[in-house]
Amino acid sequence: MAAKEFDIPKLPTYIEIPELNPGVMEGEGPFKSSEEFQNPLGFPGEKVDNWQEVAIAKMGELKSKYRSVQVFLDSCVKCGACTDKCHYFLGSSDPKNMPVARQDLFRSVYRRHFTFAGKYFPKLVGAKELDDDMLDDWYNYFHQCSQCRRCSVFCPYGIDTAEISMAAREVLDTVGLGQKYCNQILGKALTVGNNLGLPEPALKDTLLDLEEEVEEDFEAPVKYPLDVKGSEILLITPSADFFAEPHIDGLIGYGKVFYQDGVSWTLSSYASEGANFGMFIGSYDVMRKAALRIRKAALDLEVSRVMVGECGHAWRVAYSFWNTLSGVGAGADSSDEYAAKLQNQLDHRYPQPQHIIEYTYDLIQRDKLEFDKSENDDRTVTFHDSCNVARATNMGGIEGGQFILPREVIKAVCNNYVDMERSTIKESTFCCGGGGGLLTDDLMEIRVKGAMPRMQALKEVEKNNGVDTLAAICAICKSQFTKVLPKFDFDPYMIVSVHQLVSNAIVLDKPQTDATDAEEAQEAETE
């Protein structure tokens, strides 16, 4: 497809709030889904005739099912605190990319149909009808939101545009206006088991190749097991880890850490996907269907631990939603047979589910891993906090653990680490620009523009501290950065997985079978 020509934003020394350029990001939005991808998810294949009626009814249903939607629609006072917080606004200058203005596309229709003031005094309170133009704006601008939740951090009422954007996308799907990228991928994830549509034989081959390659390169029989019943750990990782660069070097790293710990682990061909695009389209049901595959794989493979690889929104879904959706977690009531069935099988000495970073960090804390940090001496590393990990999850069960643990893992394997500017990291982190179902070529313009604030902060540490490596723990961030880094005169290969850095530095020796062996081996080596 011939991509639209657009200017790549210049990187300023400081982020400036742009002047408003209304309509600059107007357009038809991403490619629309078709019957083939809509119907399997339970959505109509094309725009239904009575779409207004259907849409309003759906809005009513959603606001009665989600307290977030109801409270957020009613509570905004238009104070303007969020107006300069969205990376898409900062990069594009389109006022409809200001969080409050994006929400208002939805809120104005809510007011028109569900509030007294909006029904009788629409002009006064800015209530609007859901007409064709409005629906087009919904489709366009709710697909210019990566659901990164940066606005929510800064809102005095915690209003989260992601919740509104998810609701809007669900309404759009319900009237037959789905997004092709997300819905096509979901079709594969819900039938084949992963977003790539990689069937079991192909996955098996890929992993065998990987084993050969790793053995050749590192002279250790590191395994990448698939569907091994009775393993201790089931690893759920984004399928991008199986083939994409730089993701696969992270997968190699996970394998090496497991190998060194001597733990038995497996991937599942049935649940070979950590990413869950059901969250992006806002559908509880679709998100649940995807999550149920992990439950089933855990039950079938009789594992005692479920672990998640490097993926931002996958970790959000796993950490915050799995327990709710499919019982992968802890603390179900004794009367809750559904959740208890799985939870009784899991080993609750470990958090369930556990992030691979938590696992590696824990091994490092217990001196189970040995590193040659000089292997990474050619790098000066900074860490990009991925939005879903940073703002919607935790690690390690300590306050701010999701910021601390990845940094500690990096520092354990690298000598040179620098943070980017404080207002662009941790809970204030800027999205990579490709999250929330926007990682598709037909949205390249907004992806590049939305990357500007992150690129700006990166440029500063490149200039001032010689940073040449950007580490991340999210498959979407990694793919997005590979594409957008060169647009801002960076080396596309500077983006790496955190476990790639671990992989570079980890010292492999014979596989160990239990903790005592590991300790002895380590003592022997240090002597």
């Binding site: 709030i17 905004c76 303007g80 209003i159 919607a392």
Partner: protein, 257 residues
């Protein structure tokens, strides 16, 4: 009683009724609407105590707003804190008879009216002169500020200029509303405007953005404990769906048995 007094007495009860019923309905709606998923926003709190303190900081110090924008925080804080002190001081009119001594200490609270008006003026100026905020403003957003400014300024005029109202008559009227011992009210125009707009404010509270007052307490991103892994959180509708659809969902999963 004069006709005017009867009208204002009636307006008081009507607006109060609309306020109580409207807010009751709205709070009930917020209350019964489930939050099906755990969505706290960083910096999240890992314990219930942590959440309580976070909420207290949010509603007393406007913590998130402070992090966000110092100007809006300054004006917003001046207005809200000023309004709070002024409201507390207004209690004197509604308590019949002699006042407890503590009210003497509240006398300086009258100066809070200036903080309130300055805060409101700042917010209005931003709404008019900052293009981003102008872009997101509806007529009602300006009106709300203007209304509050008129309430504040008319109060200041009564308290600090020679246009004093007969405060004893005000007290007789206001406490009469509470004790149902109705009395005539003073008829100065600034007093009537002040009072009328307060009634309007009460009445529009449940149908306007003033719902941010109860809303903030119900905001899931702020009031949820970040413990999704430790405790299964499930909404009634999702639980019912889980039971009813267990079989059906399995069937739609493709190669599931």
């Amino acid at each position: 009683m004069s006709t005017l007094s009867i009208i204002f007495t009636a307006l008081f009860y009507i607006s109060l009724f609309v306020f109580i019923v409207g807010m009751g309905k709205k709070i009930y709606q917020f209350w019964i609407t489930p939050a099906p998923l755990k969505i706290p926003t960083a910096p999240t709190q890992l314990t219930q105590t942590g959440v309580v303190f976070r909420m207290i900081r949010e509603v007393t110090l406007f913590e998130s707003l402070f992090r966000s924008n110092k100007w809006i925080w300054l004006f917003g804080f001046l207005f809200h804190f000023g309004l709070l002190l002024v409201l507390v001081r207004h209690l004197r009119y509604f308590i019949p008879g002699d006042l407890p001594e503590i009210f003497l200490l509240m006398q300086p609270f009258k100066y809070a009216a200036f903080a309130m008006v300055i805060g409101l003026a700042g917010l209005l100026a931003r709404r008019i002169f900052v293009p981003r905020i102008r872009y997101i403003s509806a007529p009602s957003d300006y009106l709300m500020l203007l209304m509050l400014i008129v309430i504040g300024v008319s109060g200041v005029v009564m308290t600090f200029t020679d246009n004093h109202t007969d405060v004893m008559a005000v007290k007789a009227f206001a406490s009469g509303l509470v004790t149902f011992d109705w009395a005539n009210l003073p008829t100065e125009i600034h007093f009537l405007v002040h009072l009328f707009l307060v009634f309007v404010l009460l009445a529009v509270f449940p149908i306007s953005k003033l719902l941010h007052v109860p809303g903030v307490f119900f905001s899931p991103t702020r009031n949820q404990v970040d413990d999704a892994r430790k405790k299964r959180h499930i909404s009634p509708w999702a639980l019912q769906q889980e039971k009813e659809h267990a079989v059906k969902l399995e069937q739609t999963l493709g190669k599931d048995e």
